[in-house]
Point group: C2
DNA sequence: CTTGACTCCGTAGTTAGGTACGGCCCTTAA
DNA sequence: TTAAGGGCCGTACCTAACTACGGAGTCAAG
């Protein structure tokens, strides 16, 4: 009763039908049950999955990474993978924090830019690139002792 | 004196030489001055630019978008563009906030996952996809009155 | 019971973003 | 002064992630 054709989930998730077939081949979407005719029958849930993929792509995850993220939930098969799951999840959290930090800096730089524009003062050198100035708050790391970089 | 060859900035920014030439062609890096021999001479600043591009790519910006971001600083030519600059900057801020929000949700979901793993309770259905459940805190928008989506 | 929209599949083509090649010239340290 | 290691250029190639095609079977509204 609550099953959808590929065309319907495509419209709901705002992706192409071919894209869904592609994700299927790549293992991001499970192979759904079929009618006798061969038509795919998707559960509602698949729409969420597609939306998740879309959003995750927007924040720079590759399909490979997104697949890993999605698999983090289905780690039920063997309980021994719990540590692995935790490890991978922690890696992803680190990725996410790094991305968030960059976004925070970029937002600050852009807000500053907008403010200076509002104040009728067009900053001659807007601070987008300053995003990186702060990259190493202390100069402890990267002493650049590499002699090949003459 | 403070000029670098393409190989040196490539090593400093940890990108390939060919990539730099490619960015040059695409207009993300200005054409630098040359020696009589034709060798490119880059200022230190170019390294920051390359690092910025790298980081911006990691958070899902395309090269086209990154170019726009970089151009937001050099809006000095005509003061009349101030409004345009502000408009574009505000759009980018909105993009950034949307990305940040998705990252915040994903991080929360993963932290929850790690916590439940730690507690020796492997959640049977980990909450990665719940990221989307909250997508519309109120159900006001998207009434889905489209009759073609039968 | 037909007709127009939908779906099937395999395969080929496309775009973004690099990456490699190769023949030749330049630089620099021994 | 020479040889190893850059660097120059144009062009060709590559991977990821789609996107399109086409011929044949299916569904459902009228």
């Amino acid at each position: 009763m609550e099953s959808l054709t590929i065309g319907k989930i495509a419209r709901r998730a705002e992706v192409g039908i071919e894209t869904i077939r592609f994700y299927q081949r790549e293992g991001l979407i499970d192979e759904p049950p079929r009618r006798e005719s061969g038509y795919r029958q998707y559960p509602e849930e698949t729409v969420s999955r597609l939306l998740f993929i879309k959003r995750a792509k927007e924040i720079g995850f590759t399909l490979r990474e997104i697949k890993e993220l999605l698999e983090l939930q289905i780690a039920s098969p063997s309980t021994s993978t719990c540590d692995e799951v935790r490890k991978l999840a922690e890696e992803k959290i680190a990725d996410i924090r790094s991305k968030t930090e960059m976004l925070r800096r970029m937002e600050a730089a852009l807000v500053e830019l907008v403010d200076s524009c509002r104040g009728r003062v067009v900053a001659n050198s807007c601070p987008i690139l300053d995003v990186l100035q702060e990259e190493k708050p202390d100069g402890a790391k990267e002493i650049e002792s590499n002699p090949s970089d003459k």
